[in-house]
């Protein structure tokens, strides 16, 4: 994997002067830096980028960027981004959010965003916990993780977002780690460059409610195999990995969704003729 050939100052130009609400040591700081590095490497004009989010710690990202942004309601970011991208195909539209926002309340939109395959990049900072509401289990939380809301754990199997993304039709699937900002930036670069819906799960520890996730640093590894275009082997790989293989795990060749457009539009008065007696 290449180190992004961009200077820190070029990346910094994409950051706003707003101080994040995140806890010191939160993984999201470096994911934010990976995002700006990716923009810098792609040399995207900031006014041509829109970063869309829902609600949660990681969904605060748009305000920390010097791009256009939309911090909407909980769970609906991919839908809002879909409308924006379809209306404005010239923009680079990136969605950021967390595991609760994307896979629980936003689960249906996640499925259909993958299926629709609009040219979006979806970066999910997965810390397997609701942080903003002070520590409740999300769909990716381990079944025995204890919390005030679910004493003794949920007892529920964790959701595997990458498998769901593959089954639902995402055209690019990758996993990054906040402790590897350059690697993650490169994944985001590839995700933006790949047409269609690109899904990047970034393991991003919550130091406050999941201090155990500090161990992730020792658990992640580059995926032992190179990216595949074969959906069958991708399915096998994603179903059987332990959730800590990093890198591009699948790229497809589905054409992005683009509704039909007329090059020479009619006027409203022309279409009104259909009503004439």
């Amino acid at each position: 994997m290449n180190t992004p050939a961009v200077t820190a100052s070029a990346a910094r130009a994409y950051k706003s002067d707003v101080k994040p609400v995140w806890c010191p040591g939160c993984g999201d700081f470096t994911v934010l830096s990976s995002i700006t590095k990716a923009f810098a490497e792609l040399e995207l004009p900031p006014e041509q980028i829109a970063v869309i989010s829902g609600i949660g710690c990681s969904s605060r990202a748009p305000a920390y960027l010097n791009t256009y942004g939309f911090h909407g309601v909980h769970g609906r970011a991919t839908a809002l981004a879909t409308g924006l991208k379809l209306a404005r195909p010239d923009l680079t539209v990136v969605v950021t959010g967390g595991d609760g926002d994307g896979f629980s309340i936003g689960g249906n939109h996640f499925l259909h965003a993958c299926r629709r395959n609009v040219d979006l990049t979806y970066v999910v900072m997965d810390n397997r916990v609701y942080g903003m509401t002070k520590g409740q289990p999300s769909p990716t939380t381990e079944p025995d993780w204890d919390s005030a809301l679910t004493p003794g754990g949920t007892g529920l199997r964790a959701f595997n977002p990458l498998v769901i993304a593959l089954a639902s039709g995402a055209n690019f699937i990758a996993r990054g780690f906040s402790g590897d900002p350059n690697g993650t930036a490169q994944l985001i670069v590839e995700a933006i460059k790949t047409p269609g819906f690109s899904f990047v799960e970034v393991l991003s520890p919550c130091v406050t409610f999941r201090p155990d996730q500090r161990e992730w640093r020792t658990m992640v590894r580059p995926a032992p195999v190179s990216p595949t275009h074969d959906i069958g082997s991708a399915a096998r790989r994603l179903m059987t990995d332990d959730g800590f293989n990093l890198g591009v795990l699948y790229t497809g060749n589905r054409a992005p969704y683009q509704p039909p457009r007329k090059t020479a539009p009619a006027t409203p008065s022309e279409i009104e003729r259909q009503f004439a007696v």
Partner: protein, 583 residues
């Protein structure tokens, strides 16, 4: 006038049959033929909840004048069959001088029809159809109606040809033969109501449903992005737009649910493209959180709610005006927004156009309350003028010197602040549902909350809505006023015109602008009025309570209200208004 007071210059016809019998097709052809013959008309479809095979009724009223309501009774009822007639006979009021045509093949006429006292004539419709190769009973019925009412054959032939294709088409030949058989059979029936003589050919008029009209108004207003999730009875707005929006260079996308469709249009509008969705009560309920987002982030959108009976799944195929409360009050927090309602099928064009204008001008979500009656009925109308509003969203012009100081939510006079459209260099900001500073940064400060709440309120209170805020008609000197809204305005207007014929005059006020409340405008419209009656189609008198709570009404106000699914009929309102005015 007949004993029920129905007007002698119109003829009302109902065709009933199970789904697939073709009564809706025959009804549509009848309306088209009458339009070509120079009549005005209204075509109301009634169908049960079944997907296929349920009961259906085509209800057509034809007149020399514009019609906006169903009549009190049907003058002609033709039963192709009587499938489930007990369920909807109440929608087909008959008088003793009504004519019912029944096919003995379906057994004896149902008791629910016999007990009306209407004259029943038995005709072997199915057998008549069988004698014609590919002949169908619905076309025999169409011919009967034409023969009974004196509908011009040329107009009927043209209407058939429009649907069934060229003269050589066997379907057209079979239908024409069946229609001829029906006309011939009508000669022996005896019926004295004729279609009114038309002043002209009807050329230049339109035939349109309220759902199509709302779609057209949206396109006229500049909507170029639509997100769609199907729901009865709003689906036709979306289907019409699917076929026509791309013609004007727009985009329609089917969403996975209403939560997605509302957010898709917010995204598209944030990107600078005027955007709309259409739904009904259950969908509106799902959308309300995100409509609040559009209020807070000041993104213009239009949501059309084609109301049906509620609550919950309610009565999806029948009309009711019971989503007023959720439209006015359904958003959490203090969330000023616009609610408008068309006052007729034809007016759906204007009101949808105006809704887009209001949304774009004030950067505010605008809800348009139509209903199943307005949406799914077809009318023959004069082409609605295109008012061509100079609609323009206030966008930000950013220069190098202003870029650093750009404030998306600046506290501008009037409350509307320039919106930077993505792609504009130097205009970058984050639209936010969090309370924010003028620059758009999240804030929970007292001063920011207060000033942004004020800004969002002031921009809609200070807007110049003009005379469009209400339809005001009748005698400006009258001391009695009727206040109504939406689809109730049609039957109210007809009731008032019948009362005028008796020498009783009233003032009519039908607000098109429902929110923000317009107490000053209403007080001016009621100047000199001693008493007012509020008429609406809701069980809990939602409109009445809204007027009482949010308007300074200078006079005592009474209420006449009832829920759907039965339409408000003119004679019912004549009776209620007369009773109230005599009290």
């Amino acid at each position: 006038m007949s004993e029920n007071g129905s007007q002698s210059n119109s003829v009302s016809i109902a065709l009933t049959g199970s789904g697939g019998a073709g009564v809706i097709t025959a009804g549509a052809m009848l309306l088209d033929a009458a339009a070509r013959a120079g009549c005005y008309g209204l075509f109301v479809r009634s169908s049960g909840p079944q997907i296929r095979g349920g009961e259906a009724a085509a209800m057509v009223r034809l007149s020399a004048q514009h019609v906006e309501a169903q009549d009190d009774v049907f003058h002609i009822l033709i039963g192709l069959d009587w499938h489930n007639i007990e369920r909807f006979a109440v929608e087909l009021p008959l008088a003793t001088d009504s004519l019912v045509i029944a096919d003995p093949a379906n057994g004896p006429p149902p008791a629910v029809i016999v007990k009306t006292g209407a004259r029943i004539v038995e005709l072997h419709l199915k057998d008549m159809a069988k004698e014609i190769p590919q002949g169908r009973p619905n076309m025999i019925a169409l011919g009967l109606v034409a023969g009974l009412t004196g509908l011009a054959e040329d107009a009927l032939k043209a209407a058939l040809a429009k649907v069934l294709g060229s003269k050589r088409s066997t379907a057209l030949q079979a239908s024409l033969a069946a229609v001829q058989a029906g006309i011939a059979a009508a000669a022996g029936v005896g019926f004295d109501r004729r279609l009114p003589a038309a002043a002209n050919s009807g050329h230049g008029r339109w035939q349109i449903s309220g759902n199509q009209a709302a779609g057209l108004g949206a396109i006229r207003g500049g909507v170029r992005f639509v997100a769609a999730y199907p729901i009865t009875p709003a689906t036709e707005v979306l289907e019409w737009l699917a076929a026509n929006l791309t013609k004007v260079g727009g985009t329609l996308v089917q969403a996975e649910d209403e939560l997605a469709s509302i957010n898709m249009i917010i995204g598209a509008s944030y990107g600078g493209t005027p955007a709309l969705t259409a739904t009904s009560g259950p969908g509106l309920a799902l959308m309300t959180e995100s409509i609040g987002l559009a209020v807070a982030s000041e993104v213009p959108i239009v949501v059309i709610d084609v109301m049906r009976g509620g609550p919950s799944t309610g009565i999806p195929t029948k009309s009711e005006q019971s989503d007023l409360n959720i439209a006015l009050f359904g958003l959490h927090g203090d969330a000023p927004h616009i609610v408008v309602a068309p006052t007729s099928i034809a007016n759906c064009v204007f009101t949808a156009n105006w809704a887009v204008h209001l949304a774009e001008s004030m950067q505010v979500p605008t809800l348009l309350l139509s209903d199943q009656f307005l949406g799914q009925s077809r009318a023959i109308i004069e082409p609605p003028a295109d008012l061509a509003f100079a609609t323009r969203r206030l966008t930000a012009e950013i220069t190098e010197s202003t870029a650093a100081g750009y404030q998306r939510y600046a506290l501008a006079a009037g409350g509307v602040s320039p919106m930077a459209i993505p792609g504009t260099p130097g205009g970058q900001y984050t639209a936010d549902g969090l309370e924010h500073t003028p620059r758009g940064m999240p804030s929970s400060q007292v001063a920011d909350h207060m000033s942004q709440l004020d800004k969002r309120r002031d921009k809609i209170l200070g807007f110049e809505y003009g005379d469009h805020w209400a339809d005001i008609a009748g005698d400006a000197e009258s001391e009695l006023a009727v206040i109504t809204w939406g689809s109730a305005a049609g039957p109210v207007r007809e009731a008032l015109s019948r009362l005028r014929a008796r020498g009783q005059v009233f003032r009519l006020i039908a607000p098109r602008l429902l929110a923000p409340a317009s107490p000053t405008r209403m007080a001016a419209a009621l100047r000199g009025v001693k008493r007012a009656l509020v008429i609406e189609q809701s069980h809990s008198a939602q409109f009445f309570h809204y007027l009482k709570g949010y308007f300074d009404l200078p006079c005592p106000v009474a209420s006449y209200h009832r829920p759907g699914p039965l339409p408000l009929r003119p004679h019912e309102l004549v009776e209620q208004i007369a009773k109230w005015s005599a009290a």
